[in-house]
Amino acid sequence: MEQFLQQVVNGISLGSIYALIALGYTMVYGIINLINFAHGDVYMIGAYIGFAAITYAKLGFFPALVITMILCAILGVVIERVAYKPLRNSTRIAVLITAIGVSLLLEYVMMFFVGAEVRSYPKVLSGEVFHLVGVVINIQQIYIVVTAIALMILLQFIVHKTKIGKAMRAVSVDQDAAQLMGIKVDSTISYTFAIGSAFAGAAGVLVGIYYNSIDPLMGIMPGLKAFIAAVFGGIGSIPGAMIGGLSIGIMETLVSGYGNSMYRDAAVFAFLIIILILKPTGLLGKNTREKV
């Protein structure tokens, strides 16, 4: 029982990170029907920005997180403007291939500048641990979960209560109707990229702190899993991405804890296949037709 609880606690920490990344996938898909394959790399760059902010600028956790989020938001908007916007009226496959190209570009540009080697993250939080009914919870996990929850509440607030959020929802349903309301589609898309990328950046910092190591290819696997989390939750659905992220995190730690960590990734992919067979639109996905 204790071991089970321990795995669940670890799973929630990991899952919160997946959820933060998954939100960006799902928001961008919701608004322009693009699977932004470069999203995992924004997360990787976020980890490096956090690394630099803590190591060289000697910033604490919170300022480093905020700066990372701002810079990643800008990076996300630049990617959208430079790579995707010119292709707004192209075929989906052209945009998808471009996204893969942007992903590779970011990975190898980073490798050029920072080298391919794994770096260990600076210690910005204390190594303190708490014992709670036999379960060990460390301070990093608390920071991760609290940060993720705070960001998700913030996102819910933005999406439901602010003009930008309402514009995002309107554009994701019907761009023409949104324009007839006076909503600028291009800037709304930019805001969506900004928010999604800021969240990915935050996830990058949290992962660096949690696993203590970063490298230029670190975005590939978590990016893929966060994408699966988004699909599992129902791509386009914000609550779906949160639930999907947590489920995949917990499942992964349970499989590694009880079975064999080598099967961890296989289990996640098998799980996705089963979900897609049982419910092709994902957990909270709508049964609406695919938009053209």
């Binding site: 003009k163 309402k166 514009a167 929802r169 309107a170 349903v173 019907d174 023409d176 109707a177 949104a178 324009q179 007839l180 309301m181 006076g182 909503i183 600028k184």
Partner: protein
């Protein structure tokens, strides 16, 4: 108020509008009638800035607006109830109306306008919190009209507001259009229901395969033989 001069619009190689010119004067109800595929929707979309013309001019109060974006045109007072209503189905009635006022910041007046809309369409007031997608067709049409009015338009473009509605409801919608007009909003009404449209319009244009083939007062056109034959089912 609104003037269109020699407008040409293409979809790829298909020419949807051929040298169209029309005028809507301040305070008028002008209707544009025509059969399926004649180019009515294309005309309204181009006025709103959703389609870009290949050539021609659109003037609002004498000022050229052809190069402005759709949101900029909303800001200048052009509002549209699009074909098929295009409400936001997952949002509540209230949120749909709020989106209509997206470009406004005058909170108190928005509130007042919202009350006016609820007065005009009491059913929307009852359904405030309901998701718009669950409304009936007629209610959705009212919501789309209410939403369009929330921007305080100077000119309201209506694309087939009677489409798919029961005759009684059609009558009601046309009464409402007259009423909106009487409170000072200029109206450009696109319709296939020619008899109803001509009955409330001050002036009318007839469009056939992208060309304006006839124009006159509502009364004149309603009496014309060709219109009787082509659109009013007369002998």
């Amino acid at each position: 108020m609104l003037e269109i001069k020699n407008l040409n619009v293409h979809y790829g190689v298909i020419q949807a509008l051929k040298n169209i010119s029309l005028t809507v004067n301040n305070g008028e109800i002008v209707t544009l009638i025509g059969a399926n595929g004649a180019g009515k929707t294309t005309t309204l979309r181009t006025i709103s800035g959703l389609n870009k013309p290949t050539s021609g001019e659109i003037l609002l109060e004498g000022k050229e607006i052809t190069s402005l974006s759709a949101p900029q045109r909303v800001k200048l007072g052009i509002s549209q109830v699009p074909e098929g209503r295009r409400i936001f189905p997952d949002m509540s009635v209230l949120e749909n109306l709020e989106l209509g006022a997206f470009l406004r910041n005058d909170k108190n007046n928005i509130k007042k306008d919202m009350e006016n809309i609820y007065q005009r369409f009491p059913i929307l007031s009852d359904r405030k919190r309901q998701t718009a997608g669950t409304l009936s067709g007629g209610e959705q049409q009212m919501l789309a009209m209410g939403r369009a009015l929330m921007s305080r338009p100077r000119i309201l473009l209506l694309d087939e507001p009677s489409m798919g509605l029961a005759p009684l409801l059609v009558r009601e919608i046309f009464e409402i259009i007259k009423d909106i007009n009487s409170t000072g909003t200029t109206i450009l009404l696109v319709e296939q229901n020619a008899s109803m449209a001509l009955a409330i319009a001050h002036r009318a244009y007839v469009i056939e395969t992208g060309t304006i083939v006839m124009s006159g007062t509502g009364e004149e056109l309603a009496k014309s033989d060709e219109i009787q034959k082509a659109y009013l089912g007369g002998e």
